[in-house]
Protein backbone atom coordinates (compact mmCIF):
# COMPACT_ATOMS: atom_id res chain seq x y z
CA UNK A 1 0.00 0.00 0.00
CA UNK A 2 1.30 3.41 -0.94
CA UNK A 3 1.56 5.72 1.99
CA UNK A 4 0.42 9.21 0.90
CA UNK A 5 1.08 10.57 4.35
CA UNK A 6 4.81 10.64 3.68
CA UNK A 7 4.48 13.74 1.45
CA UNK A 8 4.68 16.44 4.03
CA UNK A 9 2.39 19.39 3.15
CA UNK A 10 4.85 21.74 4.86
CA UNK A 11 7.42 20.91 2.22
CA UNK A 12 5.20 22.38 -0.53
CA UNK A 13 5.19 25.90 0.90
CA UNK A 14 6.21 28.52 -1.68
CA UNK A 15 9.51 30.01 -0.70
CA UNK A 16 9.01 33.47 0.78
CA UNK A 17 12.54 34.71 0.15
CA UNK A 18 12.09 36.06 -3.44
CA UNK A 19 8.82 37.70 -2.42
CA UNK A 20 10.49 39.46 0.49
CA UNK A 21 13.33 40.54 -1.78
CA UNK A 22 10.93 42.11 -4.26
CA UNK A 23 8.90 43.79 -1.53
CA UNK A 24 12.09 45.24 -0.02
CA UNK A 25 13.18 46.58 -3.40
CA UNK A 26 9.76 48.16 -3.93
CA UNK A 27 9.86 49.64 -0.45
CA UNK A 28 13.29 51.19 -1.02
CA UNK A 29 12.12 52.56 -4.40
CA UNK A 30 9.01 54.19 -2.93
CA UNK A 31 10.96 55.57 0.04
CA UNK A 32 13.46 57.26 -2.28
CA UNK A 33 11.10 58.38 -5.03
CA UNK A 34 8.26 59.85 -2.99
CA UNK A 35 8.11 63.21 -1.30
CA UNK A 36 6.00 64.26 1.65
CA UNK A 37 6.51 68.01 1.22
CA UNK A 38 3.22 69.84 1.49
CA UNK A 39 3.42 72.77 -0.88
CA UNK A 40 1.70 76.04 -0.16
CA UNK A 41 1.56 79.20 -2.19
CA UNK A 42 1.29 82.94 -1.90
CA UNK A 43 -0.87 84.49 -4.56
CA UNK A 44 0.92 87.35 -6.29
CA UNK A 45 -1.96 89.40 -7.55
CA UNK A 46 -1.36 92.01 -10.16
CA UNK A 47 -3.90 94.42 -8.77
CA UNK A 48 -4.71 97.87 -10.01
CA UNK A 49 -2.22 99.60 -7.77
CA UNK A 50 0.98 97.82 -8.61
CA UNK A 51 2.76 100.96 -9.72
CA UNK A 52 4.63 102.76 -7.00
CA UNK A 53 3.47 106.10 -8.42
CA UNK A 54 -0.22 105.14 -7.97
CA UNK A 55 0.09 103.71 -4.50
CA UNK A 56 -0.48 106.93 -2.51
CA UNK A 57 -4.02 107.19 -3.88
CA UNK A 58 -4.98 103.54 -3.39
CA UNK A 59 -2.97 102.08 -0.58
CA UNK A 60 0.18 101.81 1.46
CA UNK A 61 3.73 101.31 0.29
CA UNK A 62 5.76 99.16 2.68
CA UNK A 63 9.47 99.20 1.97
CA UNK A 64 11.67 96.43 3.36
CA UNK A 65 14.94 98.14 4.19
CA UNK A 66 16.63 95.12 5.76
CA UNK A 67 15.60 92.17 7.93
CA UNK A 68 12.99 93.36 10.49
CA UNK A 69 13.35 96.99 9.33
CA UNK A 70 10.46 98.37 7.35
CA UNK A 71 9.65 101.83 6.14
CA UNK A 72 6.31 103.57 5.69
CA UNK A 73 6.12 107.22 4.67
CA UNK A 74 9.82 107.69 5.23
CA UNK A 75 9.97 106.42 8.82
CA UNK A 76 11.37 103.10 10.02
CA UNK A 77 8.82 100.84 11.75
CA UNK A 78 8.65 97.32 13.07
CA UNK A 79 6.06 94.73 12.06
CA UNK A 80 3.46 95.39 14.85
CA UNK A 81 3.55 99.12 13.98
CA UNK A 82 3.09 98.37 10.27
CA UNK A 83 0.18 96.04 11.06
CA UNK A 84 -1.48 98.69 13.21
CA UNK A 85 -1.11 101.35 10.45
CA UNK A 86 -2.62 98.99 7.84
CA UNK A 87 -5.42 97.99 10.24
CA UNK A 88 -6.33 101.68 10.78
CA UNK A 89 -6.35 102.33 7.04
CA UNK A 90 -8.56 99.28 6.48
CA UNK A 91 -11.18 100.76 8.82
CA UNK A 92 -11.70 103.71 6.48
CA UNK A 93 -11.24 101.70 3.27
CA UNK A 94 -11.83 97.92 3.36
CA UNK A 95 -10.33 97.62 -0.15
CA UNK A 96 -7.06 99.17 0.99
CA UNK A 97 -4.10 97.93 -1.07
CA UNK A 98 -0.60 97.15 0.19
CA UNK A 99 2.43 97.24 -2.06
CA UNK A 100 5.57 95.64 -0.68
CA UNK A 101 8.86 96.90 -2.04
CA UNK A 102 12.09 95.20 -0.93
CA UNK A 103 15.41 96.96 -1.30
CA UNK A 104 18.51 95.29 -2.73
CA UNK A 105 19.86 92.17 -0.98
CA UNK A 106 16.71 91.58 1.06
CA UNK A 107 16.29 87.78 1.20
CA UNK A 108 13.10 86.30 -0.20
CA UNK A 109 12.28 84.80 3.21
CA UNK A 110 11.85 88.35 4.59
CA UNK A 111 9.56 89.35 1.71
CA UNK A 112 7.46 86.20 2.24
CA UNK A 113 7.23 86.92 5.98
CA UNK A 114 6.01 90.50 5.36
CA UNK A 115 3.53 89.35 2.70
CA UNK A 116 2.28 86.60 4.98
CA UNK A 117 1.71 88.96 7.91
CA UNK A 118 0.04 91.67 5.81
CA UNK A 119 -2.10 89.38 3.69
CA UNK A 120 -3.73 88.21 6.94
CA UNK A 121 -5.10 91.78 7.09
CA UNK A 122 -5.68 92.74 3.45
CA UNK A 123 -6.26 89.32 1.86
CA UNK A 124 -5.44 89.35 -1.84
CA UNK A 125 -5.03 93.15 -1.98
CA UNK A 126 -1.28 92.86 -1.75
CA UNK A 127 1.42 92.95 -4.36
CA UNK A 128 5.15 93.39 -4.78
CA UNK A 129 7.14 95.90 -6.76
CA UNK A 130 10.73 96.84 -7.47
CA UNK A 131 12.27 100.05 -6.32
CA UNK A 132 12.08 102.61 -9.13
CA UNK A 133 15.41 104.21 -9.97
Amino acid sequence: MINFETTNPKKNLISLTPLIDVVFILLVFFMLATSFTKWHSIHLGFGEATNVSDIDKKGTLVEIVSESNYQIDGSIKNMPQIESIVRNKLKSNPEHFVLVQPRENVPLQELVYVMGQLSKLVGKNISVAKEQK
Binding site: I20, P107, L108, Q109
Partner: protein, 135 residues
Protein backbone atom coordinates in the same frame (compact mmCIF):
# COMPACT_ATOMS: atom_id res chain seq x y z
CA UNK B 1 16.77 9.08 13.24
CA UNK B 2 14.22 11.88 13.37
CA UNK B 3 14.39 14.41 10.55
CA UNK B 4 13.79 17.86 12.01
CA UNK B 5 14.82 19.88 8.92
CA UNK B 6 11.26 20.51 7.65
CA UNK B 7 10.05 21.68 11.00
CA UNK B 8 13.06 23.97 11.32
CA UNK B 9 12.34 25.52 7.93
CA UNK B 10 8.71 26.18 8.83
CA UNK B 11 9.72 27.72 12.09
CA UNK B 12 12.14 30.00 10.23
CA UNK B 13 9.34 31.19 7.92
CA UNK B 14 7.02 31.75 10.84
CA UNK B 15 9.63 33.86 12.57
CA UNK B 16 10.04 36.24 9.59
CA UNK B 17 6.30 36.62 8.95
CA UNK B 18 5.90 39.67 11.26
CA UNK B 19 8.82 41.31 9.42
CA UNK B 20 7.14 40.65 6.06
CA UNK B 21 3.89 42.10 7.42
CA UNK B 22 5.60 45.27 8.59
CA UNK B 23 7.46 45.66 5.29
CA UNK B 24 4.16 45.26 3.40
CA UNK B 25 2.50 47.88 5.59
CA UNK B 26 5.41 50.29 5.06
CA UNK B 27 5.23 49.69 1.31
CA UNK B 28 1.49 50.44 1.24
CA UNK B 29 2.03 53.56 3.37
CA UNK B 30 4.72 54.97 1.04
CA UNK B 31 2.64 54.11 -2.03
CA UNK B 32 -0.47 55.88 -0.74
CA UNK B 33 0.86 58.77 1.35
CA UNK B 34 3.76 59.95 -0.78
CA UNK B 35 3.79 61.76 -4.10
CA UNK B 36 6.30 61.11 -6.86
CA UNK B 37 8.73 63.91 -7.48
CA UNK B 38 11.07 64.67 -10.32
CA UNK B 39 14.41 66.20 -9.38
CA UNK B 40 14.77 69.95 -9.91
CA UNK B 41 17.36 71.42 -12.25
CA UNK B 42 19.19 72.79 -9.19
CA UNK B 43 18.78 72.83 -5.43
CA UNK B 44 16.20 75.30 -4.16
CA UNK B 45 15.09 75.68 -0.53
CA UNK B 46 11.77 77.52 -0.65
CA UNK B 47 10.78 80.08 1.98
CA UNK B 48 8.65 79.16 4.99
CA UNK B 49 5.26 80.85 5.33
CA UNK B 50 2.37 80.76 7.75
CA UNK B 51 -0.32 80.87 5.08
CA UNK B 52 -2.32 77.79 4.24
CA UNK B 53 -3.05 77.87 0.51
CA UNK B 54 -2.36 74.33 -0.61
CA UNK B 55 -1.13 73.84 -4.14
CA UNK B 56 0.21 71.29 -6.60
CA UNK B 57 3.84 72.14 -7.14
CA UNK B 58 4.44 70.93 -10.70
CA UNK B 59 2.26 73.08 -12.91
CA UNK B 60 4.18 75.76 -14.87
CA UNK B 61 7.05 75.82 -12.41
CA UNK B 62 9.79 78.45 -12.70
CA UNK B 63 12.84 77.79 -10.52
CA UNK B 64 15.11 80.51 -9.17
CA UNK B 65 18.13 79.55 -7.11
CA UNK B 66 20.20 81.55 -4.63
CA UNK B 67 22.48 82.89 -7.38
CA UNK B 68 19.52 83.98 -9.50
CA UNK B 69 19.79 81.15 -12.06
CA UNK B 70 16.53 80.27 -13.81
CA UNK B 71 14.99 76.97 -14.88
CA UNK B 72 11.68 76.00 -16.47
CA UNK B 73 10.46 72.46 -17.10
CA UNK B 74 13.61 71.06 -15.51
CA UNK B 75 15.92 72.92 -17.92
CA UNK B 76 18.20 75.83 -17.13
CA UNK B 77 17.36 78.94 -19.13
CA UNK B 78 18.52 82.50 -19.50
CA UNK B 79 16.06 85.33 -18.87
CA UNK B 80 15.66 85.89 -22.63
CA UNK B 81 14.95 82.18 -23.25
CA UNK B 82 12.43 82.17 -20.41
CA UNK B 83 10.70 85.24 -21.84
CA UNK B 84 10.49 83.54 -25.23
CA UNK B 85 9.15 80.29 -23.75
CA UNK B 86 6.48 82.02 -21.66
CA UNK B 87 5.53 84.28 -24.53
CA UNK B 88 4.93 81.18 -26.71
CA UNK B 89 2.91 79.49 -23.96
CA UNK B 90 0.72 82.57 -23.49
CA UNK B 91 0.18 82.95 -27.25
CA UNK B 92 -0.63 79.26 -27.76
CA UNK B 93 -3.07 78.92 -24.87
CA UNK B 94 -6.55 78.71 -26.38
CA UNK B 95 -8.90 78.84 -23.42
CA UNK B 96 -7.47 79.91 -20.10
CA UNK B 97 -4.28 81.91 -19.77
CA UNK B 98 -1.55 79.68 -18.30
CA UNK B 99 -0.82 79.83 -14.60
CA UNK B 100 2.74 79.99 -13.35
CA UNK B 101 4.38 79.11 -10.09
CA UNK B 102 7.68 80.39 -8.85
CA UNK B 103 9.84 78.21 -6.63
CA UNK B 104 12.64 80.41 -5.40
CA UNK B 105 15.33 79.94 -2.78
CA UNK B 106 14.57 81.56 0.58
CA UNK B 107 18.03 83.14 0.62
CA UNK B 108 17.83 84.55 -2.91
CA UNK B 109 17.57 88.29 -3.49
CA UNK B 110 13.91 89.34 -3.52
CA UNK B 111 14.63 91.61 -6.48
CA UNK B 112 15.53 88.59 -8.65
CA UNK B 113 12.11 87.13 -7.93
CA UNK B 114 10.32 90.42 -8.52
CA UNK B 115 12.12 90.77 -11.87
CA UNK B 116 10.56 87.47 -12.97
CA UNK B 117 7.15 88.47 -11.59
CA UNK B 118 7.35 91.69 -13.60
CA UNK B 119 8.41 89.75 -16.68
CA UNK B 120 5.30 87.55 -16.33
CA UNK B 121 3.14 90.61 -15.78
CA UNK B 122 4.59 92.18 -18.93
CA UNK B 123 3.73 89.04 -20.93
CA UNK B 124 0.11 89.29 -19.79
CA UNK B 125 0.19 86.39 -17.32
CA UNK B 126 -2.65 86.89 -14.88
CA UNK B 127 -1.94 84.30 -12.21
CA UNK B 128 1.37 83.83 -10.47
CA UNK B 129 1.98 82.03 -7.20
CA UNK B 130 5.08 81.85 -5.07
CA UNK B 131 5.67 78.42 -3.59
CA UNK B 132 6.35 78.12 0.10
CA UNK B 133 6.43 75.41 2.71
CA UNK B 134 4.42 75.67 5.88
CA UNK B 135 5.94 76.55 9.24
Amino acid sequence: MIDLSNENQTEEYESILPLVNVVFLLLIFFMLAGAFTTPDAFKVSPPIAELENKTQAREGLILINQQGMLAYDGKELTKTELRQKINNLVKNSDKEPPKFKIKADAASDSLNVITIIELLQELNVKQVELLTIQK
